[in-house]
Every structure is written in C-alpha cells, then in structure tokens.
C-alpha cells in the first residue's frame, strides 16, 4: 500500500522533511476517512429509504385502507351539541362531505350525470350539468351528502369527482323544537332561539342542555296542531312549565318549519308566538285580579258583587258574555268568568295596587328570558284611571306573551313564590324557588280551589281530564284588527295547573282565530277549542310521567269547599255549554 511504502522510505528522510511528510500523510488519511464515512452514510440512507421505509409505508397504507379511515381534514372548532333535559340529542354538528367535480377530467358527461342522479335522489340536475360542463377546474355538484351516498360515489370511481368536508348543523327531530331551539346559517352562526342567545357558548364547542322534555314537547305539538286543524285556526301555541321552578318543559308555536331547511321557511312559520308574540289573553287575567283582591282586601269567598247591570265607564260599556244578571259571590264571578264582577273587584283593589300586583307577577315588564326573541308587552301607562283599572282586571287592553302568562299563573298556584321562566338548564335547577313571595300561602290555596271550580263547574269543564285534578281558566279575547275589536276573530286559550292540590305543571294552549265546527255547535270559544286540548295534554303528561289515574279521589276535590258559595239556578247535574 502506498502509505506503508512511503513510511518505509521515510526512515531515510531526516529532519524537517520527515515531519512534513508525516503531517501530510495523517491529513490525507483523515480526509480519506471522512469521505469513506460520508459514502457509508449515504449508502445506509439509500438502503433505509428504498428498502426499510418503503416496506413500512406499504404496510401503513395497507392498514389504513383496511380501516377505511375517512381521512377527514381538521376544520375550525366544532359547534357544541344541544340536548333536552333527559339527555336526548336535539341538535348536533356533523362533518359532511360535499361533492365537487373537475370538468377537465370528465370523460363522459352524460354517463357521469346519470350515475350521480342514481346515487343522489335530490340532485339539482341543472346545477350539476353546469358544474360538469364548465370551462374551469372546479364546480360544486352537491352539498352535504350522506356517508352511504359517498360510498356509492366512491364505487363509481370517476377520477373527476372529489370531496370537501364541511360542518353541517343537524336537527334530528326536524320541526319539534323549532322556535325555542332556533337554527344556524350555513357558516354555523346562530340566527334564532337558543342557537342565537347561546351562540358564544356553543361556538366555543360547549354543549347546552335545555329544560325542555322531548316527550312532552311532542305531546303538546300533537295536541295544539290537532286543535288547530279541528277548528281550522290560523296559528297556535302551547306551553308546559314546571310550576315550582319556572323551567319550560315544552313550548310549541305553530305553524313551524323543519329546522334543517330553515332557509325555506315563511315569515308566518318563523314567527315565535311563545315569547315574541304578544296577545290579549282576556279572562285569564281574572286569575290575577281575583288573587289581588283576596291578597290585598282579604275578602271572604262569600263576598258579593252586583253583576245585574252592565257598567258604563266613559264611552265604554262592560258586559258579561253569559250574563247571570244577579248578585254574584267571588267563586261565581270566577267560574262564570263575569267581566262585570271582575271589573268591580279591580275597582276595589284600586289602580295602583292592581298595577303593582301585575308588576310583581312579571306582567308589566319585558320578560328576561333565555332567548332573545322576547316581545315588548303592551300595558296602559301608569297611573291607571278607574276605567283602565276596571278593564285591566279582566284582561282587556293588556297584551302579554304565553310564556309570561304561564309564569304568572305558576307564581299564583305554587304557594305564592315568584317564578322566572328558563329554557336552559342551570347547575342549580331550583334557583328561584322560595326566593320572592308574591302572594300568601292562603291566597294561593284559595286560587287553586277557584281554578279547580272552573273545571268542575264553570267555563272550563271540557278541560277535565278523567282521573286527574286539573284546575284552570279559560280566556277568549276578540282580536283587535286595525284598532277595532272583531267578534269573529278570536284568540281562545286555556291555562291550567295540575295536580291542583300541589301543582307540578302549568299547561297552556292558545289558538289564534279558530272557527267553530259542528261538534262545537259553531262555538270557537276557549271552553270548546283550548280546554279539550289541555285535557289531552294532561293525560299525555300523566302517561309519560307515570302518574296513575287512581290517585285522584273526587270525594276529596278541593273545589267542593266552594260549592256553598255557588247559587246556580240551574239544576245540579245539568251541564250547560262551556263557553267564555
């Protein structure tokens, strides 16, 4: 070898020269070693890349194909889900593939479109033809296809087709929760209901639990829509509220629409009649004016008011629809829903007191609610004159929302504690329970008896649900059209509480512009329209909640205590038509 030979000769070289050769030799060998190392590394890397890694990659791909991984790319924060009070899913966000086409790669346009139409039944053919024949390199064919459709399109195996993944909000029960739940736009921005008011919570990926119960919601929706179709009504609403906590268990506004196609909904369908729409609910206010009388004047049930003649207040005359034309006791005024009697009660309480009482019940101010769609209620300006007080005591000239009405009734019947309606579950469910007392326990108990009397003897007899003690009040109001009250356009409603001994639920049904039918002898009043719907809802709630009908004993009915104050001329057992 070269260097060995050189070293041999170096023996004969002396001095400086020898040292120089030595240095050169060691430098050369060092460089040579470096080169050898570099080539070794390169060689090893070559083996690694081509043999080792290649094999591993092939294995990985095989595994991946085996598992059929969707290979979904990560996109933005996913919106949180919404559940009902029992944990049923009511709104979720799914990653859905959308189909696009690269027209440049299309071989046979007609065959491709035929194949696609076979896979996607609701394919917009016109749009698809445009996308396939376009002169560019990208066109949407169809947004949001199902996993099965995607699989079948993959099986077509056309190289011009591809998928992009997008988030899509999905509402499994389509129209069941329409107005309270709300909906989002295509970009996931909440546009109505809880989707809108809780947009910041949901868009941060947090889940929301509603106070609503899917099963009760279905029952209410079924019965309100039945009442609407039986009486060919324009619209309707129904609410079930927890009488103690104010939690909204069911809230339906009809007509509604499929939340999955919110873009196609009409204004009529979109309108929230529960908390945004304000209505004159009429005689239901007698619950509050009577409670005010019992609470503030402490009158006994035997106290009488003269309802023999209509009252003239200024230009206005207060009439009874089914005039008894005699002196009436408090229970009689309530069960016959006498306007004259209620007006006199209001007069006795006084304008300021009555208004303050309504305010305590949350009927004067705009409601503080879990969704933003809350209507401005219409109330006469303070101070109330004598005539305003009299008409306001039977609900004339006051407009409120059905949810507020239910909260007011809940406050009266639950023992007297103020109730604030909620739609979204809190950590402490009974937050407002026992907080603020509005009426005394005694007044609340008297009101429960009066409400029961309406169902056993008065205008709400059709609301009686066999085996359950329901108490309630009818309300039939003429609609004001262009400032004039129309006798032929009514809002018929019924609000009830049950079991009336210790109410758990407040149930309300409101029907907008019902028309009388043969079964109702042409009547379209609350007793005929809304009361039977409430009765059916009560039976439905009882069956869902497992409340057997054998718990109620008619002999112990709380309204029986009031019968001595009812002096009906009519023979007992002869039921007269339930009306206003």
């Amino acid at each position: 070898m070269m260097w060995r030979h050189a070293r041999h000769r170096a023996i004969f070289i002396d001095g400086e020269k020898r040292a120089a050769v030595c240095v050169a030799q060691s430098r050369l060998s060092f460089i040579a070693a470096c080169f050898i190392l570099v080539y070794l590394v390169i060689g090893a890397r070559l083996v690694d890349l081509s043999v080792v890694q290649g094999n591993m990659l092939r294995f990985d791909l095989a595994v991946e194909q085996d598992q059929g991984a969707l290979n979904v790319p990560k996109i933005a924060q996913r919106r949180g889900d919404v559940y009902d009070r029992n944990g049923f899913l009511v709104a979720t966000t799914l990653k859905t593939p959308s189909l696009y086409v690269d027209p440049y790669l299309v071989l046979d346009e007609e065959a491709l479109l035929t194949d696609l139409a076979g896979v996607i039944p609701d394919l917009d053919l016109e749009k698809a033809v445009r996308a396939v024949t376009a002169k560019n390199r990208f066109g949407w064919v169809h947004h949001s296809i199902t996993p099965e459709q995607q699989q079948r399109i993959l099986e077509i195996g056309d190289p011009s087709l591809g998928f992009e993944y997008e988030y899509k909000r999905f509402y499994p029960q389509s129209a069941l929760f329409t107005h309270m739940l709300g909906y989002t736009d295509r970009d996931g921005l909440g546009l109505a209901g809880v989707e809108r008011s809780y947009d910041d919570v949901l868009s941060a990926g947090n889940d929301v639990h509603l106070t609503m119960d899917l099963r009760l919601q279905h029952i209410v929706r079924r019965e309100v829509s039945r009442a609407m179709s039986e009486f060919t009504a324009k619209a309707g609403a129904g609410v079930v509220m927890d009488a103690k906590t104010g939690e909204v268990l069911a809230a339906v506004s009809l007509p509604d629409f499929d939340l999955n196609d919110a873009g196609d909904a009409t204004d009529m369908q979109k309108f929230n009649r529960l908390s945004l729409g304000v209505y004159e609910l009429g005689s239901m206010f007698k619950i509050f004016s009577t409670a005010a009388l019992l609470e503030q004047e402490r009158v006994p049930m035997s106290y009488t008011f003269d309802a023999r003649k209509p009252i003239k207040v200024g230009w206005y005359t207060i009439n009874d629809y089914h005039a008894q034309k005699r002196i009436l006791t408090v229970p009689e005024i309530f069960m016959h829903s006498s306007n004259i009697g209620s007006a006199l009660m209001g007069q006795m309480v006084g304008g300021d007191n009555l208004r303050a009482f309504y305010k305590d019940l949350g009927l004067i101010d705009r409601m503080d609610f879990d969704i933003k769609e809350v209507g401005h209620i219409l109330v006469p300006k303070a101070p109330w004159s004598d005539s305003t007080t009299m008409t306001a005591s039977y609900g004339h000239g006051l407009s409120t929302t059905p949810v507020q009405m239910c909260a007011g009734v809940a406050t009266i019947v639950n023992g007297g504690f103020s109730v604030r309606p909620t739609l979204v579950k809190r950590d402490q469910p009974a937050r407002f329970k026992n907080d603020v007392r509005v009426v005394s326990e005694e007044t609340s108990a008297s009101m429960r008896k009066l409400l029961r009397l309406v169902v056993t003897e008065g205008t709400g007899r059709k609301a009686d649900a066999q085996g359950y003690a329901l108490g309630g009040k009818t309300g039939t109001a003429e609609k004001s059209v262009n400032g004039k009250y129309r006798r032929d356009k009514l809002i018929s409603s019924f609000v009830g509480a049950f079991p009336i001994d210790d109410p758990k639920y407040v149930v309300m049904v409101m029907v907008d512009e019902p028309n009388g039918n043969k079964q109702s002898y042409g009547y379209a009043t609350a007793g005929w329209v809304a009361a039977p719907a409430v009765s059916r809802i009560v039976s439905g709630i009882a069956s869902v909640m497992g409340m057997p009908a054998d718990q109620y004993d008619p002999a112990l009915d709380i309204s029986a205590e009031l019968l001595p104050f009812v002096h009906d001329k009519k023979k007992k057992g002869v039921k007269k038509l339930a009306s206003y």
Binding site: V52, E64, L70, K95, H218, R221, S543
Partner: protein, 116 residues
C-alpha cells in the same frame, strides 16, 4: 504505530456504529410518529362515525316517527291514566293462575293466544 492504527480503526468503527444506531433510533421515532398520527386519524374518523350514529339514533327515535310506527304498524295507542295502576294488587288475577313470580311464562301458547 500499529497500536495507533488499531486505535483509529476502533474509533472509526465506534463512529460508524453510533451513527448506525442513531439512524435506527430516528427510524423508530419516525415509525412511531406515523403510527400515532395514523391512530389519531383513525380515532377522529371513528368519533365522527359515532356522531353520525348518534344523530341517526336520535332521528330514528323521533317521537312522531315512533308514534306513527306504533299506531300504524303495531295497532298500539297511547296509554291513558286508567291503564296505569299505582299498586300491583289492583291488577286482576290471570285465568291460568300465573302470578309472574317465576319470571317465565309457563305456556307460550297462552301468550300467543292472548295477543290475537
């Protein structure tokens, strides 16, 4: 001199060996990283599938759909309050004397006959 040469050779071998083992480790790291990302993707896709199934479950359990199936297909109707009892004693006795205590029906034909 021979000793020096052997020392150099030994160091060289050491360098090569450590280089090779380093490469081996880096290979392993890459492989494991690939495995992790593959599992991540698989998990993500599995989660997505679960979400779709949950949504489908909710859709299939839509009360109006179930009600239509139960009334139309099974001739069932919603229970009324009278259909429920608060105490089991309120139930009438069965003709065959079965009291439900053995947890099994003694004669299946009775059940089928009863259902008809």
């Amino acid at each position: 001199m021979r000793y020096v040469f052997l020392k150099h050779l030994f160091v060289l071998m050491l360098v090569i060996a450590s280089g090779a083992s380093l490469m081996g480790v880096s290979q392993n790291v890459q492989r494991v990283e690939r495995e992790v990302s593959r599992l991540d993707r698989a998990m993500e896709s599995e989660k997505e599938r679960v979400r779709i199934l949950r949504a489908e479950w909710a859709y299939l359990n839509d009360p109006s759909r179930l009600e239509a199936l139960a009334t139309g297909g099974l001739m069932m109707q919603a229970p009324e309050g009278e259909d429920m009892v608060s105490k089991p004693d309120a139930l009438p006795e069965r003709e065959d004397g079965y009291d439900g205590r053995d947890g099994l029906l003694r004669d299946a034909s009775l059940v089928i006959g009863g259902a008809q």
